[in-house]
C-alpha cells in the first residue's frame, strides 16, 4: 500500500514524495506541498476529519481527503 499523509501517525515526520492527481492537487502545490518538503502530522479534529500538518515551516489544516492526495516517504536519517 502506498503511503499518504493521512496515514501518518500523530507526531510522525516524513517527506513529501509527490501529489496524486486530484481536484485539489494544484491548490496543495500552491500552498507549498511539493516533493522534498518535510511534513509532520500534528493534531486532528472532528474524529480525524480535519488534520493539521506542519509543512516545512508553517501549519496547514486539511481534510482527510486532501491529505490522502499527498504521497509521502520516510526520511532517510543521516547516520551519525
Amino acid at each position: 500500500m502506498e503511503a499518504t499523509a493521512d496515514l501518518l501517525k500523530e507526531g510522525e515526520k516524513a517527506k513529501i514524495a509527490g501529489l496524486k492527481e486530484g481536484q485539489f492537487s494544484l491548490k496543495l502545490a500552491e500552498m507549498g506541498c511539493v516533493p522534498g518538503t518535510e511534513i509532520i502530522r500534528l493534531y486532528e479534529s472532528g474524529g480525524g476529519s480535519t488534520i493539521a500538518y506542519r509543512i516545512d515551516t508553517y501549519l496547514l489544516g486539511l481534510r482527510k481527503e486532501e491529505a490522502s492526495l499527498i504521497q509521502v516517504e520516510p526520511i532517510e536519517e543521516a547516520i551519525a
Binding site: K27, M31, S45, T50, T57
Partner: protein, 656 residues
C-alpha cells in the same frame, strides 16, 4: 530617482502586507472598491522626497491562478484587464515561508511590472531555523530586497527609500506566456498541465532557495502549538469555542447598552429641539416623526454591529477564527457548508449584509450559496429590539419560569430557534444538490499573534458602513412613506373619522387625544392597508395594526418598533410608553388582552424566521447574480414563519 505615482502591494495572506501598508499610509488610508468591482482594497498615500505616491493594498493571494471570484478580481486588476495596471509593485514576502511566497513571485515576475521586495517575519524565520541572505536574494530576483519588521521596527524611512529604486524583476525559470494561460484558465475553469507547471516552478525556486538561505535545526515547540493544544483539543476545543461565543455575546449586549442609550437620548433631544424651534404643524411633525425617527432607527444599531464585528475581528486577527473553522468543519460539512462558514454565520448575529459579503472567502460555489442562505436565519441586531418590545409587553419583568428569567428565556429561545431552523434548512438544501461536491478545506493555520487594534477597528467600521449605506437608505425611505400613509387617507373616511372623534371624545373627554388619533389612523391609507391584510394574519393572532407594522417591516425588521410607536402615537420611541398603550388593548372577541403572551410569542417566531430585510435580499442578488434565490428564500422563510407563528399562537392559547 523619484517614486512612481501608483504602487500596488502584492503578497500571500498573513505575510504582514497590511501591517506594512498601515505603517506607510497611517491616517491617509481609505477603503474603496477596486475600479469596476466589489472587491475592497485599502488605498492610501505616502510622501517620499516631497512627492505624493498612491499605495493600494490588494487582498492577499497565493497564486495568480485563483480559485475564488474575489481573488480573480485582484489578479485582473494586477494584470490590467479593463483598466490600467499598477505602475509598480511592492512585493511583500514572508521570509519564514520563502518557497511558497516565491511561487507567487515567479508568476508576478512574468507580468513585467517594475518591483521592489520587502521581506517580513524574519524573526519567525529565525525561530524556524531559516536564515536568508538579502543581498544574494536581490541578485537572484533582480530587484532590491529589504528586511523589515512592520510590527516592531520604528524607523519606516528605509522602506520609503526603497520605493524610489524600482527595477525589472528577473524570472525564476522559463517564461510561460502567463497572460494567455490565465485567460484560458478563467474561461475554461481549468488548464491542462498547470500542476506540472507549478511543480516545475518549485524546482527552479528550490535552486534559488539553495543559493540564498541557510538552514539550522530547531525544535517543534512553539507558543502556537501550545495554544493549539487547547483550542483544537478533541473536546476542550469545542468547550472553549462555546465559552468564547458566550463571552462574545455577553460582551456585545453589555457594551452596546450604554452607547445605544446615548444615541436614543441624543435623538430625543434633537426631536424636542426641533419641536420647540419650528412651529407646530404638518411639516414639523414630518421632520420629527418621519425623517428623524427613521434615521434613529438606523443609527441606533451601529454600536451593536460595531462591537460584534470588532470582537469577531479580534478573534480573526489573533488567529483563533481559523481554528474555529478547523474544528467545526466536520459538522459544517455534513450540513453542506464549510468550516469557513462559521465566520459569516457568527457575523449574521450582528447584520446579514456584511456577513453575506464575507462568504466570498468560501471557494466552493455550492457551499458559499448554502452559507448565504442560512446567514439571514441568525437573529440579527435588528430583531433584538422587536423581541425586547414584545416580551416586555407580554411578560412582567419579574416573572420566572422555573429557574429561568422568563423574558431572557424567550429571547434566548428565539435565537436558538433561528439556529435550529438554519441547521435543518442547510440539510434540506444539501439533499437537493445532486452532483458530487467540489468541497475543499485547505487552510493555513497562521501563528497566533496579538491582534492589531487599528486594523480591527478599521474593518469593523467598514462593516458598519456597509450596514449604514445598504440598510440606511431603505429604512429612512420606508419611515417617510409610512408617515405619509398614516397621516393621510381617503378624504371621505378622514372626514368621517374627524366627526366621530368629536362625538366619541365628548363621552370620554379624558382620552380625547387617543380616541381621535386612533380613529384617524384607522381611516388613513395605512389603516386601509392593514385592514386589507387582516384576514391573512388573523389566524396568527394579529390585528390590523400589527398588519401595518408587518407590512412596513418587510423593508427592515426594526421598523416594527418605530411603526408601533407611530401607530400608538407615542411621541418618543420610548418602550414603556408603547408598552403601556399596547397592554391596555383588549381583543373584542376573546375579552382577553389583545397583545398577550400568545400574540407576542407568535410574532417573535414570525420575526425569527421571515426574510424581512430588503437590503439583505439586494445584497444577496448582487453576490449571486440573480433574483431567483432571494425571492425563493423570501417565500420559503415566509412559509416557515407563517406556519411557525400559527402553531405557536394556537399552542400557546391552548396551554395558557
Amino acid at each position: 530617482m523619484s517614486a512612481p505615482k501608483r504602487i500596488a502591494f502584492v503578497g500571500n495572506p498573513n505575510c504582514g502586507k497590511s501591517t506594512l501598508f498601515n505603517r506607510l499610509t497611517g491616517l491617509t488610508q481609505k477603503t474603496s472598491n477596486l475600479p469596476g468591482t466589489t472587491v475592497e482594497a485599502s488605498i492610501g498615500q505616502v510622501t517620499i522626497n516631497g512627492e505624493k505616491t498612491e499605495l493600494i493594498d490588494l487582498p492577499g493571494i497565493y497564486s495568480l491562478y485563483t480559485q475564488s471570484d474575489d481573488e480573480r478580481l485582484v489578479v485582473e486588476h494586477l494584470v490590467g484587464i479593463g483598466e490600467e495596471k499598477p505602475e509598480a509593485l511592492l512585493l511583500v514576502i514572508d521570509a519564514s515561508n520563502l518557497r511558497r511566497n516565491l511561487l507567487l513571485y515567479s508568476q508576478v515576475a512574468e507580468l513585467g511590472i517594475p518591483a521592489v521586495c520587502v521581506l517580513t517575519l524574519s524573526d519567525s524565520a529565525k525561530r524556524r531555523g531559516v536564515k536568508i541572505d538579502a543581498d544574494a536574494l536581490s541578485a537572484e530576483l533582480g530587484i532590491p530586497c529589504l528586511f523589515f519588521n512592520p510590527r516592531r521596527e520604528k524607523n519606516i524611512e528605509p522602506v520609503k527609500q526603497l520605493l524610489t529604486s524600482f527595477a525589472q524583476p528577473k524570472l525564476i525559470g522559463q517564461a510561460t506566456q502567463l497572460l494567455e494561460r490565465l485567460k484560458s484558465y478563467w474561461e475554461q475553469g481549468k488548464l491542462p498541465g498547470l500542476s506540472e507547471e507549478t511543480l516545475r516552478r518549485y524546482i527552479d525556486i528550490e535552486k534559488v532557495i539553495q543559493r540564498t538561505t541557510t538552514k539550522f535545526p530547531v525544535g517543534l515547540k512553539s507558543i502556537t502549538l501550545k495554544l493549539d493544544h487547547f483550542f483544537t483539543h478533541k473536546w476542550m476545543g469545542y468547550v472553549l469555542f462555546a465559552m468564547i461565543m458566550m463571552v462574545l455575546f455577553q460582551g456585545v449586549f453589555s457594551l452596546a447598552a450604554k452607547p445605544m442609550e446615548w444615541i436614543e437620548s441624543g435623538f430625543q433631544f434633537l426631536t424636542q429641539t426641533i419641536d420647540n424651534v419650528l412651529p407646530a404643524g404638518m411639516i414639523t411633525n414630518f421632520i420629527t416623526q418621519g425623517l428623524i425617527g427613521g434615521l434613529e432607527g438606523v443609527v441606533v444599531f451601529v454600536p451593536q454591529i460595531f462591537i460584534l464585528f470588532f470582537l469577531i475581528g479580534i478573534l480573526e486577527d489573533s488567529g483563533y477564527m481559523v481554528r474555529a473553522s478547523f474544528i467545526t468543519d466536520r459538522i459544517m460539512r455534513k450540513l453542506g457548508l464549510n468550516g469557513r462558514s462559521i465566520i459569516p454565520m457568527i457575523g449574521g448575529f450582528a447584520c446579514a449584509i456584511p456577513s453575506i459579503m464575507a462568504t466570498r472567502s468560501i471557494k466552493s460555489r455550492k457551499e458559499r450559496l448554502a452559507t448565504m442562505l442560512v446567514v439571514p436565519l441568525m437573529s440579527c441586531s435588528a430583531r433584538l429590539p422587536v423581541y425586547v418590545l414584545l416580551v416586555s409587553v407580554a411578560i412582567p419583568f419579574a416573572e420566572f419560569w422555573g429557574p429561568f428569567h422568563a423574558q431572557t428565556f424567550v429571547i434566548t429561545a428565539a435565537y436558538m430557534a433561528g439556529i435550529v431552523v438554519a441547521i435543518l434548512l442547510a440539510f434540506v438544501f444539501k439533499l437537493f444538490q445532486k452532483s458530487a461536491s467540489t468541497s475543499e478545506f485547505i487552510l493555513e493555520l497562521p501563528a497566533y499573534q496579538r491582534p492589531r487594534l487599528q486594523t480591527v477597528i478599521h474593518q469593523a467600521w467598514l462593516k458598519c458602513l456597509s450596514f449604514l449605506s445598504e440598510a440606511g437608505k431603505v429604512i429612512v425611505v420606508i419611515s417617510m412613506i409610512l408617515w405619509f400613509l398614516s397621516n393621510f387617507g381617503p378624504t371621505e373616511a378622514m372626514k368621517k373619522a374627524e366627526t366621530e372623534g368629536v362625538i366619541l371624545s365628548q363621552l370620554d373627554p379624558s382620552h380625547e387625544g387617543e380616541i381621535k388619533s386612533n380613529l384617524r389612523l384607522e381611516a388613513s391609507y395605512a389603516g386601509h392597508l392593514g385592514k386589507a391584510f387582516e384576514p391573512v394574519i388573523e389566524p396568527l393572532g394579529y390585528d390590523w395594526k400589527t398588519g401595518i407594522a408587518l407590512i412596513t417591516s418587510f423593508a427592515a425588521r426594526e421598523v416594527f418598533v418605530g411603526t408601533m410607536a407611530t401607530l400608538f402615537q407615542s411621541n418618543e420611541e420610548d418602550e414603556s410608553g408603547i408598552r403601556q398603550k399596547m397592554q391596555a388593548q383588549i381583543n373584542p372577541k376573546t375579552g382577553k388582552s389583545l397583545y398577550g403572551l400568545p400574540y407576542a410569542l407568535s410574532l417573535i417566531v414570525f420575526y425569527a424566521f421571515a426574510l424581512q430585510c430588503m437590503s439583505t435580499m439586494a445584497v444577496m442578488k448582487r453576490e449571486i447574480g440573480t433574483w431567483h434565490w432571494p425571492i425563493a428564500l423570501f417565500f420559503i422563510y415566509g412559509i416557515i414563519a407563517y406556519v411557525g407563528a400559527y402553531a405557536t399562537f394556537h399552542l400557546a392559547n391552548h396551554l395558557l
